[in-house]
């Protein structure tokens, strides 16, 4: 048996079962601890409906996996939540350090500042600047915001060390393996203390062993440090390492399930919660 830090994949649950609960996931009854709240978010591209009214809540220090078939609207949802694009309708609220803030009504400039100050991002490929060293790549967001170079690089070096990359600070991305590059990207997402970290298929380009390492690192540095994490993934095992899994189909959250707390010593495959979402 391999010694995976991941719990085993959860069996597909009650999708399609007749038991429909009378409440919908993330309904507007606001959870006071929710860092990010979305209500009836819609987004269309011409005739294509990418999001058909999504409601959800992301708790503080919670990790949420977003799953679903290709084209089901995962990336669009992530982009709306992260303020990369503006939804057509609906409300998205971030409870940042300075109180609640509407994300959906911000203009491009405001969204850009929001992303810079309150969010962290990890993409499928590291997308690091090839000329910069690892530590400079991680420090870049701070440098761009005017942080003193020595302080920025010290914070960057700290995160690299947390991610097990101590000693590799002066390497350039070309001199790092794919998994190491992705961990540099994870470190970059942590500088500046974001409230939420978004990751769109962060392990999509990695083999399963490396993807476990990256996912563990991502969880440790986010939820482990009190930050929330939203991960789009195709990988059941990646999803199972999160607190909660949302399943999208045709632009709707059709299913939500909580995963087993990771510290469960018996590794029992118990479905804590799983229900068909009322439409």
């Amino acid at each position: 048996m391999h010694s995976s830090p991941f719990p085993s994949p959860l069996p597909p649950s009650s999708v399609g079962s007749p038991s429909v609960l009378p409440w919908s996931v993330g309904s507007s009854s606001a959870n006071p601890s929710a860092v990010l709240t979305a209500q009836s978010v819609t987004k269309s591209y011409g005739p294509t409906v990418a999001l058909a009214g999504v409601a959800l809540q992301i708790g503080a220090a919670e990790s949420v996996a977003v799953m679903g078939a290709s084209g089901s609207g995962k990336t669009t949802l992530l982009h709306c939540l992260a303020g990369i694009i503006a939804p057509d309708a609906g409300a998205i609220t971030l409870l940042g350090p300075d109180g609640p803030q509407r994300v959906d009504t911000l203009g491009p400039e405001g969204r850009s500042r929001l992303r810079r100050q309150h969010y962290g991002f990890v993409f499928q490929q590291g997308l690091l600047l090839p000329e910069l060293t690892a530590v400079e790549n991680v420090a870049l967001p701070l440098l761009l915001d005017g942080t003193d170079r020595r302080r920025a690089e010290a914070e960057a070096a700290h995160w690299l060390a947390v991610l097990g990359l101590a000693g590799l600070e002066a390497r350039r991305p070309g001199q790092l393996s794919g998994g190491q590059q992705q961990r540099v990207a994870v470190a970059r997402a942590q500088v500046g203390a974001p409230s939420v970290v978004f990751a769109d298929e962060p392990t999509g380009a990695l083999d399963s062993r490396t993807s476990e390492q990256v996912m563990t690192a991502l969880l440790e540095t986010t939820t482990g440090a009190g930050r929330s994490l939203v991960v789009v993934t195709h990988d059941e095992r990646v999803a199972a390492s999160c607190d909660r899994i949302l399943e999208l189909r045709d632009g709707l959250v059709v299913h939500e399930r909580a995963t087993l707390p990771q510290q469960d010593a018996h590794g029992q495959q118990v479905l804590v919660r799983g229900q068909q979402v009322a439409r």
């Binding site: 694009i85 969010y119 997308l127 870049l140 761009l144 005017g146 170079r149």
Partner: protein, 446 residues
């Protein structure tokens, strides 16, 4: 071949914005190369048709100008070829996935590169014909050149066009063998070249020879001696510059990396790292200006000195020659900067296209694109400044007593050259600015 043609057109039609852009860029680059090459050669050819006592001098000078402009033109040609090659890499992976046989890919690549070059060359010929009346207004030997003396003629034009096409096709074939081109995206991450012993010795020897040549310059032996002195000193010093150039740029960048700080720390750091990452590429991009800046000061000083020495006593012939030399210096400088600007525009545009994923991701992270843009501009302009000012200063120092004399007796001629250098840097800045909208468009694509 028919499959190749059909596939080429399919990929062309299906290609997005960026794909069309990577088609347009080599075409534009080839057009600029062709127009400038034909015009330079046409102008030079004219001097080989003139007769009289001064004819050999004019011919030597024309040959010198062509030699000077050859390097920036070849650089531009190389940029165009590299761009075509990059399309090949994209096609290769696409077609491999589709299971196309290697032969189809080969024919497609050669076909495409040649067609792109042909279109560009055609446009360049049109540009050459359009430029001719304008440059025909220039006065040489006391007479207007006239458009007819700029045009290279049918034979020469055809030979030139065929040459360019062969070069394009050849570089495509060579690229296919994987010998020459590495995809732009995968930059070779070499350290700044070290100064080897051989290099150092070569530099010292060449410097000594250059000094001797400039020594010969000081004893005025008439114009022929002046010109041949210039040619020798110039050739040797250029060899030196080519050896030292990348090394110096790397050195400067290394210091800049260490020193980067202050309000624009991210931009400064990124720009310096870009140069340090590939000092040879940075040098290649701007070295065309090194040649001409050097010669502009060197020859400019020479002309001014001769002018002063010969004041009153000179024949009309010599007066005319000096005026023509000035015109030639200005013309060479202008053309070299235009060529470098074109090559910078092509390189930068293709660089942006290469890194569009990266720029998109940075935009998504909320990083300022303006900062990225500034860093990109700085990564070109900083080496350009070092090279243009450095070469000009090197030339000025090489003939220091003469430069000092000219500063006192004919400061205007030096002022003009300095103004031209500044304007040249401005043209390159404009070329960089022209590629900024592409960065914005590429990055904000959702």
């Amino acid at each position: 071949m028919r499959t190749a043609t059909r596939l080429s057109f399919l990929l062309l039609r299906r290609g997005g914005d960026a794909s069309r852009m990577s088609l347009a860029l080599p075409v534009v680059a080839f057009a600029v190369v062709t127009a400038l090459a034909l015009t330079v050669l046409g102008g030079a050819r004219f001097f080989f048709t003139i007769e009289g006592m001064d004819a050999p001098i004019y011919q030597a000078l024309a040959a010198l100008a062509v030699t000077l402009l050859l390097i920036p033109l070849l650089t531009l040609c190389g940029s165009a070829a590299r761009l075509s090659a990059r399309r090949r890499d994209q096609h290769l992976s696409t077609l491999r996935l589709l299971g196309a046989p290697t032969r189809t890919i080969t024919s497609m690549t050669v076909l495409e590169s040649t067609v792109l070059a042909a279109v560009g060359t055609g446009l360049g010929i049109v540009g050459h014909v359009a430029l001719a009346p304008l440059l025909g207004l220039l006065t040489f030997h006391g007479e207007q050149l006239g458009a007819g003396n700029i045009l290279l003629g049918v034979g020469g034009t055809l030979a030139c066009a065929v040459g360019l096409l062969v070069m394009a096709a050849a570089s495509a074939v060579i690229g296919l063998r994987g010998v020459v081109v590495s995809p732009l995206g995968v930059r070779t991450r070499s350290e700044a070249p070290r100064m080897s012993w051989a290099r150092a010795v070569a530099v010292v020897v060449a410097l000594g020879a250059g000094l001797l040549a400039s020594q010969a310059l000081r004893i005025d032996q008439g114009t022929v001696a002046l010109v041949s002195g210039i040619v020798v000193a110039f050739g040797l010093t250029m060899a030196v510059l080519n050896l030292v150039g990348p090394w110096v740029l790397g050195l400067v960048a290394r210091v800049q990396v260490r020193r980067a700080g202050g309000r624009l720390v991210a931009e400064r750091l990124l720009a310096a790292r870009t140069v340090l990452d590939a000092p040879k590429a940075a040098w290649r991009q701007v070295s065309g200006v090194a040649l001409t800046s050097f010669v502009a000061v060197f020859a400019g000083v020479g002309v001014a000195v001769t002018n002063v020495m010969a004041a009153g006593a000179a024949s009309t012939e010599e007066d005319l020659l000096l005026v023509d030399l000035r015109t030639g210096i200005v013309l060479t400088l202008v053309i070299s900067f235009v060529t470098v600007a074109a090559s910078v525009a092509v390189n930068q545009a293709s660089d942006i296209l290469d890194r569009r994923e990266l720029f998109t991701s940075l935009e998504r992270m909320g990083m300022s694109l303006e900062s990225m843009d500034r860093a990109r501009r700085r990564a070109v302009l900083s080496p350009l400044r070092v090279v243009a000012v450095g070469s000009a200063a090197a030339a000025g120092l090489l003939v220091l007593p003469l430069t000092g004399m000219v500063l006192l007796t004919d400061p205007l001629s030096l002022v003009i050259i300095v103004a031209l250098l500044a304007a040249g840097i401005g043209v390159v800045w404009l070329a960089l600015r022209a590629t900024s909208p592409l960065l914005t468009r590429v990055a904000s694509r959702v």
